[in-house]
Amino acid sequence: MKQTIAVNNEPGRFRQAMAWLHTWGGLVASWALFAIFLTGTIGVFDDAITHWMNPERAMVGEFDPQTNTQQQRLVAVTKAEAYLRDIAPQSHLWRIRLPSEADPAIGLSWEDENEEFQQARLDPVSGKLLTQQQERETQGGHHFVHMHFEFHAGTAGIWLVGFFTMIMLVALVSGIIIHKRIFKDFFTFRPGKGQRSWLDAHNASSVLSLPFQLMIAYTGLIVFVTVYMPVGVIANYDHPRTFFAEVFNQPEHRPETGIEAEVYPVTELFEKAEALMEKPASFISVEHPGDSSAVAKVFGLFEKEKNTGRLLFLSSGQVILDAVTGELLHIEAPDVFDKSNAFAAQRIMRTLHFANFGGYTVRWIYFILGMAGTIMMATGAILFMVKRRQRSLNEFGVQTPKVYRAIEVLNISAISGLMVACIAFFWVNRLLPLEVADRAGWEIKLFFFIWLGSLLHAALRPASRAWIEQLAGFAALSLLLPIVNWLTTGQHLFHYFAQGDWSNVGFELTVLLFGVLGIFTIKILKRKQQKTIKEVSRVYKPKSESA
């Protein structure tokens, strides 16, 4: 007992223990964290990506919020209502999103009899279902956002991401502890020096962006605070809905009664809500339509300008109505925040995480610093192997070479393989035939297949070759993407320039930039490999001559 205390008091020992934690904890989490970071960073521009992935959408029609009248909105709701009453009378939930600047179609989603979510999009003029020729079915940029917070795996995925985010916080703090010269090496990056350079890159990318990395990891956990820490709610409330009613300062969710009741005309509910809020609405949901517990929630139009430069968003207005009698249940006035301080704190951190408080300026800052975090993960994982490639540390006895090989293969497919899969996702969007059933689902399946393919490729090829081949694949896919876009849709960079479609111009230029960066990385790797070959042949030459 005495001995352990003495050992713990030694600062060197403490640092060593932290180094062990940082190395192994970091390695195990780095593959998942690289995926979380890369997709999250790309997801910063989810709307712009969705826009690029929907080349036909602009042809559906222009939406101008200035000329949008209540009459138009009511017509849209009537059309949506008719469609939902027809296709999903036995649903638990209807949702209608009105045409907006980002999306000129009427968006519908509902829960079918099997409690699965279905989606449909209607032409705002005719009220008919949009065909695949008018609009390709795609997840768009949301694919990256969903990869980022749940790996497309629902609640289980949210828990996994939370688990790895906790490891990230541990790795950040332990990393600060083991970094002996955090201020001396603050601006240090020495390229072309092998292991030294990898360590420099790892240190510089993390130290220089440290405030961002700490903030993004912590606020990421807070976004899902009630998922990750459910005990407080369970201990204090009979039902989570009581808790949420209190937090949102709204009447409690009404459970289904099983008594049938006709739905109040949704269009009339919508009109009533707009009158009560004294502003246009943009979204309406009906919970349990057809049941006597049915409730309609109408949301006011989100006015971007009012919330730019704010961390605590003001309410856009919301009206809750009984969807059987049409009676008013609750009204949340627009342009105020009428909820508790704890909830305000959570909302502010959520805004900080979502990067939606300052337009493109803030999004670009997040993109650059997110890339710094991505580089931190990648260089950390690579550094682990670079250290051991020169001299094995024999952590696993006779099995060590096999374990190292497995780690190397995982490194390659987790880093360069995911990069290939992400860019290939855009190719799939352009090349997958429009008529394919569940097209959006196939885009994501193919994304995962390509990623899996990269794992297979990494396992079959020597490591140094596999890195270069996958990076070459990434660079080629990036540089050729604008050409594929031109061949498949007839749209290209100059076309976007001429149209003043800056979102698509930015998208394609960024993709091209990453293609060029890929080529630079390959060049650096090749130069390094040639140097190593020269060194090796120099060492072995005398031997071969004497033999």
Partner: protein
Amino acid sequence: MQMLLMMLLGTALCYAGMAGLSLAMPRHYSQLNSAKLSAGYSHLLRLVSIALLVFSLWPVISMWGVVVGIVVWLGLLSVAAVLWVGLLAYWPRFAAAKALILAFIGLASCIILWLS
């Protein structure tokens, strides 16, 4: 447009400030210059750099207000430092010349904007 200009101004000042702070360290000073960095010069560089970083708060806060301004400014500091470290490693002379020019342009525009 004004937003873009003010943000560029903030980034320029942050970049120049970060550059100065790093050049006040002998290791990075020697990347540019064979002469030895004197203690007095190092102190001066550090003071000027801190002043530049403080100045860089002004365009950002004038655009975003104090609360969000400080958040955005912290982000800009990191972005500027990453830019500087990348350029210094590969093109040290270009990086430093750029810092000097940006410091002048940044300060001059601050004064002009402040007076007008």
